[in-house]
Amino acid sequence: MAELSEGQKVVRLQVPVSHDDIKDLEIGTVVYLDGVIYTGREGVYKRVIEDGHEIPLDLPAVSNANFHCSPAAAIEPDGSYNVGGVTATASFRFAKWMQRWFELSGAKIIIGKGGMSSSDYRELFVPAGAIYLTTVGYGTGALLGRGIRKVRQVEWFEELGNAQAMWVFEVENFGPFIVDSDLDGNSLFEQQAEQVNKNIESLYQGLKKPALSRYGETDDRNDELI
């Protein structure tokens, strides 16, 4: 494992997790998972929340960890699976479905890329008692692929295609992830962005503005795109 700096915390959690398992987790802690996790992103959310299909798994009994990702995987002619790796996709796009998804799925861990805004954490995650884990890098597809022991099932492959289907994985020492949001809705990304923002003004000092502006252009570079 990569060398950890002093004071860096590492935990290993069994999924499904209980409230007690995650209540003391702090932002910045490195996490590895064992147990069962499933993928779910816009395709699954739309199908369940907007089109009213039943979730084809017994959630949260089977798992309460939802990974925003699609695997690099193929189904062989004999029906077996070849999973190369898994890499997260950016989560902020899914905010509009999360409240309903928490209600329907009982998810307590959302794994993805880049986190969500702290208002999403406060309004959606905190009431649901859920934390957010970010993947590392983010391109750690091969390391995460190693942590997948078995494909338990794939749902809606025909309907949604390989990338949007619901993949259910049995995992072991699956990680690393970093806690971005704890149960209080604190965000590591926002904390780090504050650090970065301090320097921005000096970067732009002395650089004159272009002749032609663009609609919506702002000079406040503390803003984020998401």
Partner: protein, 311 residues
């Protein structure tokens, strides 16, 4: 005569190499950056190194978002090959479909409106195949690039009066906006396209990011200086991998230029991510194939300035 079979098999082969093995130039660029980091930023970069090792050991894709696989073909003016250009395009589409299943790559390519997925990364205008030519050569170079990233690219029409300031500002704007939370999966090879028609601006910037290696410099000494200046500027933002506070934003910066409208200075910025996936093969007339990770795309012929070409 270069056979169809060799073309297809080689195109298939480089798909796997690109998806699995991080090019050594990019890797040593990151190794160098680790030294300057600490805390979480260091942990992130070290984890990436482990990830590349795992990918190579297990022969699995380094990143499961295998991007948009595509090809760049450079045909020697004297090259003889079976099936003509149509034959090459067919072989590359075939290789893409086979490699997508076998490696496996993620079948990312879908119809933009209907979201239909052929599960093989082939479809309308996919994979893209860019052509270029080389005088006095009888080989064909085939390069594949699997560029990831829904984020990290932007275009802007600047004007001559905006000058270097305008370039620097737009460079910073793009890095900051897509660097936050690490959306662009930095440290990145940042490619900049300057000039040309608007579409050329985009193409040149993309090629500068994906088809030049870390450490390569533009032959124009002033442009080369600007490349280094922008690299340093990017790394002085105070942001590193994942948008954490750090110094590792730009592993290198490459600029490519094209003659443009006298009133304008269009600019594009592209970030080639932590999975800077590229692989090249040279197919010789006698059937030999040589593999490498430096596409050597921008030859003096590509950057020629006048009507005729003399070596």
């Amino acid at each position: 005569m270069i056979s169809q079979q060799v073309i297809q098999d080689t195109a298939y082969d480089i798909m796997g190499r690109a998806a699995i093995d991080i090019p050594p130039d990019y890797r040593s660029g990151v190794e160098f950056m680790i030294e300057k980091e600490d805390g979480l930023s260091k942990f992130v970069l070290q984890t990436m190194m482990e990830n590349w090792d795992a990918a190579t050991e297990d022969r699995r894709p380094m990143c499961a978002d295998s991007g948009l696989p595509r090809y760049y073909v450079k045909v020697g003016n004297e090259a003889q090959y079976e099936g003509g250009p149509i034959g090459i395009e067919h072989a590359l589409r075939e290789a893409t479909a086979r490699a997508t299943h076998d490696i496996p790559l993620r079948p990312n390519r879908v119809h933009p409106l209907w979201r239909t997925d052929h599960n093989n990364n082939v479809g309308i205008n996919a994979p893209e195949i860019d052509w270029s030519f080389e005088p006095d050569a009888d080989w064909i170079d085939i390069t594949t690039v699997h560029k990831g990233g829904l984020f990290g690219t932007d275009y802007r029409m600047l004007f001559p009066g905006d000058g270097i300031d305008g370039i620097k500002r737009f460079f910073l704007d793009t890095l900051l906006s897509y660097g936050k939370r690490g959306l662009a999966c930095q440290p990145a090879i940042v490619g900049i396209g300057l000039g040309g028609s608007k579409d050329t601006t985009m193409v040149l910037g993309k090629q500068a990011a994906c088809l030049r290696v870390v450490g390569d410099r533009n032959p124009d000494p002033k442009i080369s200086e600007l490349e280094l200046e922008l690299k340093e500027l990017g790394n002085s933002i105070g942001m590193g991998a994942m948008g954490f506070s750090g110094k590792s934003m730009v592993s290198d910066c490459h600029i490519e230029v094209g003659y443009t409208h006298t009133g304008g200075m269009p600019m594009s910025v592209h970030m080639f991510c932590l999975s800077s996936r590229r692989a090249t093969a040279r197919l010789f007339a006698d059937g030999r194939v040589e593999y490498r990770t430096d596409p050597q795309w921008f030859t003096p012929y590509m950057r020629r300035e006048t009507t005729s070409w003399q070596n």
